[in-house]
Symmetry: C2
Subunit: 274 residues, 2 copies
Protein backbone atom coordinates (compact mmCIF):
# COMPACT_ATOMS: atom_id res chain seq x y z
CA UNK A 1 0.00 0.00 0.00
CA UNK A 2 1.38 3.42 -0.88
CA UNK A 3 1.75 6.06 1.84
CA UNK A 4 -1.10 8.17 0.52
CA UNK A 5 -3.55 5.27 0.83
CA UNK A 6 -2.03 4.31 4.21
CA UNK A 7 -2.69 7.82 5.53
CA UNK A 8 -6.24 7.94 4.19
CA UNK A 9 -6.91 4.50 5.72
CA UNK A 10 -6.31 6.00 9.19
CA UNK A 11 -9.53 7.99 8.78
CA UNK A 12 -11.82 5.51 7.10
CA UNK A 13 -12.98 3.62 10.19
CA UNK A 14 -14.40 6.86 11.60
CA UNK A 15 -16.67 7.74 8.67
CA UNK A 16 -18.61 6.41 5.72
CA UNK A 17 -18.19 9.65 3.84
CA UNK A 18 -14.57 9.24 2.69
CA UNK A 19 -13.78 7.38 -0.51
CA UNK A 20 -15.70 9.04 -3.32
CA UNK A 21 -15.03 12.13 -5.46
CA UNK A 22 -16.86 14.13 -2.81
CA UNK A 23 -18.59 13.69 0.54
CA UNK A 24 -22.38 13.87 0.47
CA UNK A 25 -24.18 15.59 3.36
CA UNK A 26 -27.86 15.99 2.54
CA UNK A 27 -28.12 17.86 -0.74
CA UNK A 28 -24.57 19.20 -0.47
CA UNK A 29 -21.39 17.62 -1.81
CA UNK A 30 -17.97 18.63 -0.50
CA UNK A 31 -14.81 17.96 -2.45
CA UNK A 32 -11.24 19.11 -1.95
CA UNK A 33 -8.16 18.77 -4.13
CA UNK A 34 -4.65 20.12 -3.92
CA UNK A 35 -2.80 21.61 -6.88
CA UNK A 36 0.81 22.08 -5.81
CA UNK A 37 3.88 23.37 -7.65
CA UNK A 38 6.41 20.61 -8.41
CA UNK A 39 3.76 18.03 -7.47
CA UNK A 40 0.98 18.70 -9.98
CA UNK A 41 2.68 21.25 -12.21
CA UNK A 42 5.95 23.06 -12.87
CA UNK A 43 5.71 26.82 -13.23
CA UNK A 44 7.38 26.80 -16.65
CA UNK A 45 4.64 24.56 -18.00
CA UNK A 46 1.73 26.94 -17.65
CA UNK A 47 0.87 30.61 -17.13
CA UNK A 48 -0.38 31.66 -13.70
CA UNK A 49 -3.85 32.11 -15.13
CA UNK A 50 -3.77 28.59 -16.57
CA UNK A 51 -2.60 27.20 -13.22
CA UNK A 52 -5.45 28.88 -11.33
CA UNK A 53 -7.93 27.70 -13.98
CA UNK A 54 -6.76 24.10 -13.78
CA UNK A 55 -6.79 24.12 -9.95
CA UNK A 56 -10.46 25.09 -10.14
CA UNK A 57 -11.40 22.76 -13.01
CA UNK A 58 -9.96 19.58 -11.47
CA UNK A 59 -12.09 20.28 -8.41
CA UNK A 60 -15.23 21.08 -10.37
CA UNK A 61 -14.63 17.82 -12.22
CA UNK A 62 -15.19 15.96 -8.92
CA UNK A 63 -18.46 17.79 -8.36
CA UNK A 64 -19.70 16.92 -11.86
CA UNK A 65 -18.75 13.26 -11.41
CA UNK A 66 -21.01 13.22 -8.32
CA UNK A 67 -23.84 14.76 -10.41
CA UNK A 68 -23.58 17.94 -8.36
CA UNK A 69 -23.52 21.57 -9.49
CA UNK A 70 -20.69 23.66 -8.03
CA UNK A 71 -22.00 26.60 -6.00
CA UNK A 72 -19.21 27.86 -3.75
CA UNK A 73 -15.43 27.61 -3.50
CA UNK A 74 -12.87 28.18 -0.75
CA UNK A 75 -9.24 28.67 -1.82
CA UNK A 76 -6.01 28.16 0.06
CA UNK A 77 -3.38 29.95 -1.99
CA UNK A 78 0.27 29.85 -0.87
CA UNK A 79 2.15 32.43 -2.94
CA UNK A 80 5.90 32.77 -3.52
CA UNK A 81 7.39 35.92 -1.98
CA UNK A 82 8.71 37.23 -5.30
CA UNK A 83 5.35 37.37 -7.10
CA UNK A 84 4.50 40.84 -8.39
CA UNK A 85 1.09 42.49 -8.19
CA UNK A 86 0.65 41.66 -11.86
CA UNK A 87 1.35 37.98 -11.08
CA UNK A 88 -1.27 38.06 -8.34
CA UNK A 89 -3.78 39.64 -10.72
CA UNK A 90 -3.19 36.91 -13.35
CA UNK A 91 -3.63 34.23 -10.72
CA UNK A 92 -6.82 35.80 -9.38
CA UNK A 93 -8.11 36.17 -12.95
CA UNK A 94 -7.84 32.42 -13.55
CA UNK A 95 -9.85 31.63 -10.43
CA UNK A 96 -12.45 34.28 -11.20
CA UNK A 97 -12.87 33.30 -14.85
CA UNK A 98 -13.72 29.71 -13.96
CA UNK A 99 -15.99 30.83 -11.12
CA UNK A 100 -17.91 32.96 -13.62
CA UNK A 101 -18.09 30.20 -16.24
CA UNK A 102 -19.59 27.79 -13.73
CA UNK A 103 -21.66 30.39 -11.91
CA UNK A 104 -20.04 29.67 -8.57
CA UNK A 105 -19.00 32.08 -5.84
CA UNK A 106 -15.57 32.22 -4.22
CA UNK A 107 -16.53 32.73 -0.59
CA UNK A 108 -13.29 32.62 1.31
CA UNK A 109 -10.10 30.79 2.08
CA UNK A 110 -6.61 31.67 3.17
CA UNK A 111 -3.73 33.43 1.44
CA UNK A 112 -0.20 32.97 2.73
CA UNK A 113 3.38 33.59 1.68
CA UNK A 114 5.34 30.45 0.79
CA UNK A 115 8.36 29.15 -1.12
CA UNK A 116 6.25 27.91 -4.03
CA UNK A 117 2.75 28.20 -5.45
CA UNK A 118 0.53 25.70 -3.67
CA UNK A 119 -3.22 25.73 -4.11
CA UNK A 120 -5.96 23.80 -2.37
CA UNK A 121 -9.56 24.21 -3.44
CA UNK A 122 -12.72 23.15 -1.62
CA UNK A 123 -15.84 23.02 -3.77
CA UNK A 124 -19.32 23.04 -2.25
CA UNK A 125 -21.82 21.71 -4.74
CA UNK A 126 -25.48 20.84 -4.76
CA UNK A 127 -27.20 17.72 -6.01
CA UNK A 128 -30.63 16.14 -6.07
CA UNK A 129 -29.23 12.67 -6.79
CA UNK A 130 -25.59 12.03 -5.93
CA UNK A 131 -23.97 9.35 -8.10
CA UNK A 132 -21.37 7.27 -6.27
CA UNK A 133 -18.50 5.00 -7.29
CA UNK A 134 -20.19 2.13 -5.52
CA UNK A 135 -23.31 1.91 -7.67
CA UNK A 136 -22.17 -0.38 -10.51
CA UNK A 137 -24.59 -3.28 -11.01
CA UNK A 138 -23.72 -6.61 -12.62
CA UNK A 139 -24.19 -6.42 -16.42
CA UNK A 140 -23.83 -2.61 -16.44
CA UNK A 141 -21.94 -1.21 -19.39
CA UNK A 142 -18.79 0.77 -18.57
CA UNK A 143 -18.10 3.92 -20.55
CA UNK A 144 -15.80 6.94 -20.63
CA UNK A 145 -16.09 10.34 -22.27
CA UNK A 146 -13.59 11.98 -24.63
CA UNK A 147 -10.26 10.64 -25.75
CA UNK A 148 -7.81 9.10 -23.28
CA UNK A 149 -4.03 9.06 -23.61
CA UNK A 150 -3.28 12.65 -24.65
CA UNK A 151 -2.55 13.82 -21.10
CA UNK A 152 0.11 11.14 -20.60
CA UNK A 153 1.63 11.96 -23.99
CA UNK A 154 1.54 15.69 -23.25
CA UNK A 155 3.11 15.21 -19.83
CA UNK A 156 5.95 13.28 -21.48
CA UNK A 157 6.37 16.18 -23.94
CA UNK A 158 6.65 18.62 -21.05
CA UNK A 159 9.37 16.54 -19.42
CA UNK A 160 11.21 16.70 -22.76
CA UNK A 161 10.81 20.51 -22.61
CA UNK A 162 8.48 20.56 -25.61
CA UNK A 163 5.69 23.12 -25.73
CA UNK A 164 2.04 22.09 -25.60
CA UNK A 165 -0.86 23.57 -27.49
CA UNK A 166 -3.05 25.82 -25.36
CA UNK A 167 -5.85 23.41 -26.15
CA UNK A 168 -4.06 20.45 -24.57
CA UNK A 169 -6.28 18.81 -21.96
CA UNK A 170 -3.25 18.74 -19.67
CA UNK A 171 -3.37 22.56 -19.61
CA UNK A 172 -7.10 22.97 -19.98
CA UNK A 173 -9.25 20.03 -18.82
CA UNK A 174 -12.47 19.69 -20.80
CA UNK A 175 -15.40 19.01 -18.51
CA UNK A 176 -18.74 17.63 -19.67
CA UNK A 177 -21.10 18.90 -16.98
CA UNK A 178 -24.12 19.77 -19.11
CA UNK A 179 -24.01 16.38 -20.86
CA UNK A 180 -23.60 14.47 -17.61
CA UNK A 181 -26.41 16.23 -15.74
CA UNK A 182 -28.71 15.34 -18.65
CA UNK A 183 -27.84 11.62 -18.61
CA UNK A 184 -27.58 11.37 -14.81
CA UNK A 185 -30.96 9.67 -14.42
CA UNK A 186 -29.64 6.71 -16.42
CA UNK A 187 -26.29 6.43 -14.63
CA UNK A 188 -25.64 3.91 -11.83
CA UNK A 189 -22.08 4.84 -10.86
CA UNK A 190 -19.52 7.45 -11.84
CA UNK A 191 -16.21 9.13 -11.07
CA UNK A 192 -13.73 11.29 -12.91
CA UNK A 193 -10.50 9.96 -14.39
CA UNK A 194 -7.77 11.78 -12.50
CA UNK A 195 -5.25 8.97 -11.90
CA UNK A 196 -5.92 6.98 -15.09
CA UNK A 197 -8.70 4.71 -16.37
CA UNK A 198 -7.20 1.50 -14.93
CA UNK A 199 -6.58 3.07 -11.50
CA UNK A 200 -10.14 4.34 -11.35
CA UNK A 201 -11.54 0.98 -12.49
CA UNK A 202 -9.74 -0.69 -9.59
CA UNK A 203 -11.35 1.79 -7.20
CA UNK A 204 -14.80 1.24 -8.71
CA UNK A 205 -14.29 -2.52 -8.66
CA UNK A 206 -13.56 -2.41 -4.91
CA UNK A 207 -16.41 -0.07 -4.08
CA UNK A 208 -19.03 -1.73 -6.29
CA UNK A 209 -17.77 -5.32 -5.66
CA UNK A 210 -17.66 -6.17 -9.36
CA UNK A 211 -15.10 -7.15 -11.98
CA UNK A 212 -14.99 -6.13 -15.62
CA UNK A 213 -15.13 -8.05 -18.89
CA UNK A 214 -13.37 -5.88 -21.47
CA UNK A 215 -14.75 -5.80 -25.02
CA UNK A 216 -11.20 -5.31 -26.40
CA UNK A 217 -7.69 -4.81 -25.09
CA UNK A 218 -6.99 -1.28 -23.90
CA UNK A 219 -3.41 -0.17 -24.30
CA UNK A 220 -1.48 1.13 -21.28
CA UNK A 221 -0.90 4.40 -23.13
CA UNK A 222 -4.67 4.87 -22.81
CA UNK A 223 -5.44 3.09 -19.55
CA UNK A 224 -2.58 4.46 -17.46
CA UNK A 225 -2.94 8.07 -18.62
CA UNK A 226 -3.75 10.27 -15.60
CA UNK A 227 -5.06 13.84 -15.37
CA UNK A 228 -7.61 13.22 -18.09
CA UNK A 229 -10.60 14.54 -16.12
CA UNK A 230 -12.93 12.60 -18.36
CA UNK A 231 -15.97 10.89 -16.86
CA UNK A 232 -16.08 7.15 -16.20
CA UNK A 233 -19.57 5.77 -15.58
CA UNK A 234 -21.83 2.74 -15.78
CA UNK A 235 -25.41 2.22 -16.88
CA UNK A 236 -27.86 -0.50 -17.80
CA UNK A 237 -27.71 -1.61 -21.42
CA UNK A 238 -31.32 -0.54 -22.02
CA UNK A 239 -30.30 3.13 -21.68
CA UNK A 240 -27.48 2.89 -24.22
CA UNK A 241 -29.32 4.56 -27.09
CA UNK A 242 -30.71 7.36 -24.95
CA UNK A 243 -27.26 8.16 -23.58
CA UNK A 244 -25.66 8.02 -27.03
CA UNK A 245 -28.28 10.39 -28.40
CA UNK A 246 -27.62 12.95 -25.66
CA UNK A 247 -23.84 12.54 -26.13
CA UNK A 248 -24.27 13.31 -29.82
CA UNK A 249 -26.29 16.42 -29.02
CA UNK A 250 -23.56 17.71 -26.67
CA UNK A 251 -20.78 16.58 -29.02
CA UNK A 252 -19.23 14.33 -26.35
CA UNK A 253 -17.37 11.24 -27.67
CA UNK A 254 -18.31 8.09 -25.75
CA UNK A 255 -16.38 4.83 -25.54
CA UNK A 256 -18.23 1.81 -24.18
CA UNK A 257 -15.45 -0.62 -23.36
CA UNK A 258 -16.52 -3.19 -20.78
CA UNK A 259 -19.31 -4.91 -18.92
CA UNK A 260 -19.55 -5.41 -15.14
CA UNK A 261 -19.26 -9.04 -14.12
CA UNK A 262 -18.71 -11.03 -10.93
CA UNK A 263 -15.14 -10.81 -9.71
CA UNK A 264 -12.60 -8.08 -9.11
CA UNK A 265 -10.24 -5.97 -11.13
CA UNK A 266 -6.66 -4.89 -10.36
CA UNK A 267 -4.82 -2.12 -12.15
CA UNK A 268 -1.40 -2.85 -13.62
CA UNK A 269 -0.10 0.67 -14.17
CA UNK A 270 3.07 1.71 -12.34
CA UNK A 271 2.14 3.44 -9.10
CA UNK A 272 2.58 7.16 -9.58
CA UNK A 273 2.22 8.05 -5.91
CA UNK A 274 5.22 8.76 -3.63
CA UNK B 1 -1.16 47.20 1.11
CA UNK B 2 0.58 43.86 1.63
CA UNK B 3 0.39 41.23 -1.11
CA UNK B 4 -1.94 38.97 0.85
CA UNK B 5 -4.53 41.75 1.18
CA UNK B 6 -3.95 42.76 -2.46
CA UNK B 7 -4.72 39.21 -3.60
CA UNK B 8 -7.83 38.91 -1.42
CA UNK B 9 -9.04 42.29 -2.71
CA UNK B 10 -9.24 40.80 -6.22
CA UNK B 11 -12.14 38.65 -5.04
CA UNK B 12 -14.07 41.01 -2.82
CA UNK B 13 -16.06 42.80 -5.51
CA UNK B 14 -17.61 39.49 -6.53
CA UNK B 15 -19.01 38.49 -3.15
CA UNK B 16 -20.23 39.76 0.20
CA UNK B 17 -19.16 36.56 1.89
CA UNK B 18 -15.40 37.16 2.12
CA UNK B 19 -13.93 39.07 5.03
CA UNK B 20 -15.01 37.32 8.20
CA UNK B 21 -13.66 34.29 10.09
CA UNK B 22 -15.98 32.19 7.97
CA UNK B 23 -18.52 32.51 5.16
CA UNK B 24 -22.15 32.12 6.17
CA UNK B 25 -24.53 30.27 3.81
CA UNK B 26 -27.86 29.68 5.49
CA UNK B 27 -27.20 27.81 8.73
CA UNK B 28 -23.75 26.68 7.60
CA UNK B 29 -20.43 28.45 8.11
CA UNK B 30 -17.39 27.60 5.98
CA UNK B 31 -13.88 28.46 7.10
CA UNK B 32 -10.50 27.52 5.71
CA UNK B 33 -6.99 28.05 7.06
CA UNK B 34 -3.58 26.88 5.96
CA UNK B 35 -0.96 25.51 8.36
CA UNK B 36 2.28 25.23 6.41
CA UNK B 37 5.77 24.13 7.42
CA UNK B 38 8.25 27.02 7.54
CA UNK B 39 5.34 29.45 7.31
CA UNK B 40 3.32 28.65 10.44
CA UNK B 41 5.65 26.20 12.15
CA UNK B 42 9.05 24.57 11.97
CA UNK B 43 9.13 20.82 12.34
CA UNK B 44 11.60 20.92 15.22
CA UNK B 45 9.17 23.04 17.26
CA UNK B 46 6.39 20.49 17.61
CA UNK B 47 5.63 16.79 17.30
CA UNK B 48 3.61 15.66 14.28
CA UNK B 49 0.63 15.02 16.52
CA UNK B 50 0.88 18.54 17.93
CA UNK B 51 1.11 19.98 14.40
CA UNK B 52 -2.03 18.15 13.27
CA UNK B 53 -3.84 19.20 16.45
CA UNK B 54 -2.94 22.84 16.01
CA UNK B 55 -3.93 22.80 12.31
CA UNK B 56 -7.40 21.64 13.38
CA UNK B 57 -7.70 23.93 16.43
CA UNK B 58 -6.86 27.17 14.61
CA UNK B 59 -9.64 26.35 12.16
CA UNK B 60 -12.15 25.38 14.84
CA UNK B 61 -11.28 28.68 16.51
CA UNK B 62 -12.75 30.48 13.46
CA UNK B 63 -15.96 28.47 13.71
CA UNK B 64 -16.34 29.29 17.42
CA UNK B 65 -15.72 32.99 16.77
CA UNK B 66 -18.68 32.89 14.33
CA UNK B 67 -20.81 31.21 17.04
CA UNK B 68 -20.91 28.03 14.99
CA UNK B 69 -20.37 24.43 16.04
CA UNK B 70 -17.87 22.51 13.91
CA UNK B 71 -19.50 19.47 12.25
CA UNK B 72 -17.27 18.34 9.37
CA UNK B 73 -13.69 18.81 8.19
CA UNK B 74 -11.87 18.35 4.88
CA UNK B 75 -8.08 18.07 5.01
CA UNK B 76 -5.46 18.75 2.37
CA UNK B 77 -2.29 17.12 3.70
CA UNK B 78 0.94 17.41 1.71
CA UNK B 79 3.42 14.97 3.22
CA UNK B 80 7.21 14.85 2.85
CA UNK B 81 8.44 11.78 0.96
CA UNK B 82 10.61 10.55 3.84
CA UNK B 83 7.82 10.22 6.42
CA UNK B 84 7.50 6.73 7.84
CA UNK B 85 4.23 4.91 8.49
CA UNK B 86 4.70 5.70 12.15
CA UNK B 87 4.98 9.42 11.28
CA UNK B 88 1.76 9.18 9.27
CA UNK B 89 0.02 7.50 12.20
CA UNK B 90 1.10 10.26 14.61
CA UNK B 91 -0.12 12.91 12.19
CA UNK B 92 -3.46 11.14 11.68
CA UNK B 93 -3.80 10.71 15.46
CA UNK B 94 -3.58 14.48 16.00
CA UNK B 95 -6.37 15.15 13.49
CA UNK B 96 -8.54 12.37 14.86
CA UNK B 97 -8.09 13.36 18.51
CA UNK B 98 -9.32 16.88 17.88
CA UNK B 99 -12.17 15.62 15.69
CA UNK B 100 -13.29 13.40 18.58
CA UNK B 101 -12.95 16.17 21.17
CA UNK B 102 -15.17 18.48 19.14
CA UNK B 103 -17.49 15.75 17.87
CA UNK B 104 -16.78 16.54 14.23
CA UNK B 105 -16.33 14.17 11.33
CA UNK B 106 -13.40 14.20 8.89
CA UNK B 107 -15.23 13.61 5.62
CA UNK B 108 -12.55 13.89 2.95
CA UNK B 109 -9.78 15.89 1.43
CA UNK B 110 -6.62 15.20 -0.50
CA UNK B 111 -3.30 13.61 0.46
CA UNK B 112 -0.23 14.26 -1.67
CA UNK B 113 3.52 13.84 -1.56
CA UNK B 114 5.47 17.09 -1.17
CA UNK B 115 8.80 18.57 -0.05
CA UNK B 116 7.42 19.72 3.30
CA UNK B 117 4.40 19.24 5.54
CA UNK B 118 1.67 21.61 4.38
CA UNK B 119 -1.85 21.36 5.75
CA UNK B 120 -5.03 23.13 4.75
CA UNK B 121 -8.23 22.53 6.69
CA UNK B 122 -11.79 23.39 5.72
CA UNK B 123 -14.28 23.37 8.58
CA UNK B 124 -18.02 23.14 7.98
CA UNK B 125 -19.88 24.37 11.02
CA UNK B 126 -23.47 25.03 11.95
CA UNK B 127 -25.00 28.05 13.61
CA UNK B 128 -28.39 29.45 14.53
CA UNK B 129 -27.05 33.01 14.90
CA UNK B 130 -23.77 33.82 13.18
CA UNK B 131 -21.80 36.60 14.90
CA UNK B 132 -19.84 38.81 12.50
CA UNK B 133 -16.95 41.23 12.78
CA UNK B 134 -19.18 44.01 11.51
CA UNK B 135 -21.67 44.07 14.36
CA UNK B 136 -19.99 46.42 16.86
CA UNK B 137 -22.36 49.19 17.98
CA UNK B 138 -21.28 52.57 19.33
CA UNK B 139 -20.78 52.38 23.14
CA UNK B 140 -20.26 48.58 23.03
CA UNK B 141 -17.60 47.29 25.41
CA UNK B 142 -14.64 45.47 23.82
CA UNK B 143 -13.33 42.39 25.52
CA UNK B 144 -10.92 39.52 25.01
CA UNK B 145 -10.60 36.10 26.64
CA UNK B 146 -7.51 34.62 28.28
CA UNK B 147 -4.07 36.14 28.57
CA UNK B 148 -2.40 37.79 25.59
CA UNK B 149 1.32 38.03 24.97
CA UNK B 150 2.49 34.52 25.75
CA UNK B 151 2.39 33.36 22.12
CA UNK B 152 4.71 36.18 21.01
CA UNK B 153 7.05 35.45 23.90
CA UNK B 154 7.00 31.72 23.19
CA UNK B 155 7.64 32.27 19.48
CA UNK B 156 10.70 34.36 20.39
CA UNK B 157 11.86 31.51 22.64
CA UNK B 158 11.53 29.07 19.74
CA UNK B 159 13.65 31.30 17.52
CA UNK B 160 16.29 31.25 20.30
CA UNK B 161 16.07 27.42 20.21
CA UNK B 162 14.56 27.26 23.69
CA UNK B 163 12.02 24.55 24.49
CA UNK B 164 8.40 25.39 25.29
CA UNK B 165 6.14 23.77 27.83
CA UNK B 166 3.60 21.38 26.29
CA UNK B 167 0.98 23.65 27.77
CA UNK B 168 2.15 26.69 25.81
CA UNK B 169 -0.73 28.20 23.85
CA UNK B 170 1.61 28.41 20.87
CA UNK B 171 1.69 24.60 20.83
CA UNK B 172 -1.81 23.99 22.10
CA UNK B 173 -4.32 26.80 21.53
CA UNK B 174 -6.98 26.97 24.26
CA UNK B 175 -10.41 27.48 22.78
CA UNK B 176 -13.42 28.68 24.74
CA UNK B 177 -16.31 27.28 22.71
CA UNK B 178 -18.65 26.25 25.51
CA UNK B 179 -18.29 29.64 27.21
CA UNK B 180 -18.80 31.55 23.96
CA UNK B 181 -21.89 29.64 22.83
CA UNK B 182 -23.45 30.41 26.23
CA UNK B 183 -22.82 34.18 26.02
CA UNK B 184 -23.53 34.42 22.27
CA UNK B 185 -26.98 35.92 22.75
CA UNK B 186 -25.37 38.95 24.39
CA UNK B 187 -22.58 39.43 21.82
CA UNK B 188 -22.78 41.97 18.97
CA UNK B 189 -19.53 41.21 17.11
CA UNK B 190 -16.67 38.75 17.43
CA UNK B 191 -13.57 37.26 15.84
CA UNK B 192 -10.60 35.24 16.99
CA UNK B 193 -7.18 36.76 17.64
CA UNK B 194 -4.91 35.08 15.12
CA UNK B 195 -2.76 38.00 13.94
CA UNK B 196 -2.71 39.98 17.20
CA UNK B 197 -5.22 42.11 19.15
CA UNK B 198 -4.31 45.38 17.41
CA UNK B 199 -4.48 43.82 13.91
CA UNK B 200 -7.89 42.38 14.65
CA UNK B 201 -9.14 45.65 16.14
CA UNK B 202 -8.22 47.41 12.90
CA UNK B 203 -10.24 44.84 10.95
CA UNK B 204 -13.23 45.21 13.28
CA UNK B 205 -12.93 48.99 13.14
CA UNK B 206 -13.17 48.90 9.32
CA UNK B 207 -16.00 46.41 9.21
CA UNK B 208 -18.07 47.93 11.99
CA UNK B 209 -17.19 51.56 11.12
CA UNK B 210 -16.22 52.44 14.68
CA UNK B 211 -13.13 53.57 16.57
CA UNK B 212 -12.08 52.57 20.09
CA UNK B 213 -11.50 54.48 23.30
CA UNK B 214 -9.04 52.45 25.34
CA UNK B 215 -9.50 52.30 29.12
CA UNK B 216 -5.71 52.04 29.56
CA UNK B 217 -2.59 51.69 27.43
CA UNK B 218 -2.02 48.20 26.07
CA UNK B 219 1.60 47.30 25.57
CA UNK B 220 2.79 46.09 22.15
CA UNK B 221 3.97 42.86 23.77
CA UNK B 222 0.27 42.19 24.38
CA UNK B 223 -1.38 43.91 21.43
CA UNK B 224 0.95 42.68 18.68
CA UNK B 225 1.10 39.06 19.86
CA UNK B 226 -0.32 36.80 17.14
CA UNK B 227 -1.46 33.18 17.19
CA UNK B 228 -3.28 33.68 20.46
CA UNK B 229 -6.59 32.18 19.30
CA UNK B 230 -8.40 34.01 22.06
CA UNK B 231 -11.80 35.54 21.36
CA UNK B 232 -12.28 39.27 20.80
CA UNK B 233 -15.87 40.45 21.08
CA UNK B 234 -18.18 43.36 21.85
CA UNK B 235 -21.40 43.68 23.81
CA UNK B 236 -23.69 46.26 25.34
CA UNK B 237 -22.69 47.41 28.83
CA UNK B 238 -25.99 46.14 30.29
CA UNK B 239 -24.89 42.52 29.67
CA UNK B 240 -21.54 42.91 31.43
CA UNK B 241 -22.51 41.17 34.65
CA UNK B 242 -24.25 38.29 32.91
CA UNK B 243 -21.21 37.68 30.71
CA UNK B 244 -18.82 37.92 33.66
CA UNK B 245 -20.87 35.41 35.62
CA UNK B 246 -20.77 32.87 32.77
CA UNK B 247 -17.03 33.49 32.29
CA UNK B 248 -16.47 32.72 35.97
CA UNK B 249 -18.46 29.49 35.66
CA UNK B 250 -16.34 28.34 32.70
CA UNK B 251 -13.12 29.66 34.28
CA UNK B 252 -12.40 31.96 31.34
CA UNK B 253 -10.45 35.15 32.17
CA UNK B 254 -12.02 38.25 30.59
CA UNK B 255 -10.37 41.61 29.94
CA UNK B 256 -12.67 44.52 29.11
CA UNK B 257 -10.31 47.09 27.65
CA UNK B 258 -12.11 49.58 25.41
CA UNK B 259 -15.38 51.14 24.33
CA UNK B 260 -16.56 51.59 20.75
CA UNK B 261 -16.74 55.26 19.71
CA UNK B 262 -17.10 57.22 16.49
CA UNK B 263 -13.94 57.21 14.42
CA UNK B 264 -11.50 54.62 13.20
CA UNK B 265 -8.58 52.66 14.56
CA UNK B 266 -5.27 51.77 12.91
CA UNK B 267 -2.90 49.11 14.16
CA UNK B 268 0.73 50.02 14.76
CA UNK B 269 2.31 46.58 14.90
CA UNK B 270 4.96 45.71 12.33
CA UNK B 271 3.37 43.94 9.39
CA UNK B 272 4.12 40.25 9.73
CA UNK B 273 2.90 39.31 6.24
CA UNK B 274 5.28 38.83 3.27
Amino acid sequence: MNKEDFFIKQFISNTKLIGDDGAVIGKWVYSNDAFFENVHFKKEWMSLKQIARKAMLVNISDAIAMNAKPKYALLTVAIPKDYTKSDLKSLAKGFKEVAKEFNLEIIGGDTISNEKLDISVTIISKTKKPILRSGIKKDDLLCYTGTLGTSKRDLEKLFKKEKLSKESKFIRPKLHGEFFYKISKYVNASMDISDGLFFELERMSKQSSVGFEFFYKIDKEIGCSGEEYELLFSFEEKYKEKIEKIAKKYDVPLTIFAKAVKGKYSCECANHHF
